[in-house]
């Protein structure tokens, strides 16, 4: 077990957030946190990264975890270059120059590393965001809407990177509202709707159990049942 949530709730003043979510995440798996906008995916990720504390319920962690995180809504300082940002964040994690170089090359920003973020496209900023999440040792990688702003080539590369991380023995949890992307990559799925977990478990098993061909069909069926 990597983490277990017991009746976790984090409700905001606009009544959105996460409501009584119970879940179990196991080590070494690729887990998709799927659902529509405002389903509570980012809230759950912020709770897992410790940025926010739950209103009620508790998180029970397995052995000592080292979490790397890719947020969905970060704007890097515009006056710094990719190299400087990776260097700054790398120094906080005590990551050497060689690994910083490897990470920048992996996300295709090595050639543009000297340019300030001001001159980056949305896709390049998202790749920089991904690069910082790959920095340093960790056993739990959290990616919040990692496909945002990426072109098809980099979405394909992202899939490869997620699989590479799994090969290294890491647990990868990613949130997405693209159900096809979740289906292609995930082994486990947590389907959220309006702050509630409406389905969770092994993806193939869940689809078979509900007699659905794909995640989209399952999602629509579950939403209609919930209405």
């Amino acid at each position: 077990m990597i983490v277990k949530g017991q009746k976790i709730a984090r409700i905001y003043s606009n009544d959105r957030g996460l409501k009584d979510a119970s879940f179990l995440l196991n080590e070494g798996e690729i887990i998709a946190l799927a659902g529509g906008n405002g389903a509570g995916k980012s809230t759950l990720i912020r709770l897992l990264t410790g940025q926010e504390k739950p209103t009620s319920g508790q998180l029970e962690w397995g052995s000592e975890q080292s979490v790397n995180y890719m947020p969905d809504d970060v704007d890097f300082p515009l006056t710094l270059s990719a190299e400087e940002i990776i260097n700054l964040l790398g120094s906080l994690k005590k990551v050497g120059q060689a690994e910083q170089e490897t990470v920048l090359k992996r996300v295709g920003l090595w050639e543009e590393r000297k340019q300030t973020v001001r001159h980056y496209s949305k896709g390049m900023r998202q790749r920089l965001n991904l690069a910082q999440a790959l920095l340093g040792p960790s056993n739990f990688l959290l990616l919040d809407e990692p496909t945002n702003g990426l072109d098809p080539y980099w979405v394909a590369e992202l899939k490869k990177m997620v699989l590479e991380q799994k090969e290294l023995g890491k647990t990868v949890l990613f949130s997405t509202h693209l159900l096809s992307f979740a289906q292609e990559l995930a082994e486990e799925v947590l389907l959220l709707h309006q702050g509630n977990i409406i389905t969770q478990g092994n993806l193939e098993h869940v689809l078979r159990e509900n007699d659905c061909k794909n995640l989209e069909e399952l999602f629509i069926m579950k939403i209609q049942n919930n209405l």
Partner: protein, 258 residues
């Protein structure tokens, strides 16, 4: 922070205004002893411009990090909020110290050509003290603010209150209240208003406490003593420590259960 175009523009404007005012004052009124129009103008300029630039730039710097998600990301790294706030403080100090050093250099350099244009050490010390205190307050405002715009608004309200409104309010109160009441209010204002605290510090360090008038004799007498100066230094440090401490506390509270 020095790479920010806004910061560069502010530095350029400050150096230009400071050098121009020093030069014009010198041409209009060559230096004489005591609290002159020249020293009053230079003091007012520092007390108006430096807090304005510090409060807006400093507060928006932290509020910007919160708004952009950069601080949220940093929170997932092995860095404490205390380190983050002190890092921001150091960056702000460095930027403004460079700006001050540049403006003093320009004035001294100009003085070499026109003659008699100099800067007293008290003025230099006070300028650095303004930066030390207002940079800390700026970070506290940034921590309180919910967005960059909110930080800007809060900064301007506080700046206007400390530099303009409180003084006018006291003048208004003085028209109908007894002298001893006004005197007490002025002493309170000196202690709760960092701009007045610094102005008072200038009088203390330049030994011109008499500017405040005979009614403040016992008050100025206390602060001009060695122990009083020590108290002044301690209270100045307290402004800094409390502001930075509350900034860390508020940033820590942000994101917790509402």
């Amino acid at each position: 922070m020095l790479r920010s175009r806004w910061m560069q523009l502010v530095a350029l404007l400050f150096v230009f205004v400071f050098a121009s005012v020093s030069l014009i004052q010198q041409m209009a009124l060559p230096e004489v002893e005591g609290f002159t129009r020249q020293s009053a103008a230079a003091l007012n300029l520092q007390l108006f411009l430096l807090p304005l630039f510090l409060l807006t730039i400093g507060s928006m710097s932290i509020a910007g990090d919160v708004e952009s998600g950069w601080l949220s990301l940093l929170k997932t790294y092995p860095i404490t909020l205390r380190q983050y706030v002190f890092g921001k403080y150091a960056a702000l100090l460095l930027s403004f110290f460079v700006m001050l050093a540049l403006s003093f250099s320009v004035v001294i350099g100009t003085g070499a050509f026109v003659g008699q244009l100099g800067i007293s050490w008290v003025f230099v010390v006070l300028s650095f003290l303004i930066v030390l205190i207002f940079a800390a307050i700026a970070l506290l405002i940034g921590a309180i603010a919910k967005s960059r715009l909110h930080a800007l608004a809060l900064s301007l309200v506080l700046w206007a209150s400390w530099l303009l409104l409180l003084s006018y309010a006291l003048m208004a109160i003085g028209t109908f209240s007894a002298g001893h009441v006004l005197q007490k209010l002025l002493i309170v204002n000196i202690h709760i208003n960092p701009a007045e605290w610094l102005r008072f510090g200038y009088f203390l360090l330049s030994k011109q406490e008499a500017v405040l008038g005979p009614a403040f004799y016992s008050f100025t007498n206390f602060y001009s003593s060695p122990f009083g100066l020590f108290v002044y230094a301690c209270l100045s440090v307290l402004w800094i420590i409390l502001s930075l401490g509350f900034a860390v506390f508020i940033l820590d509270r942000k994101g917790r259960v509402e």
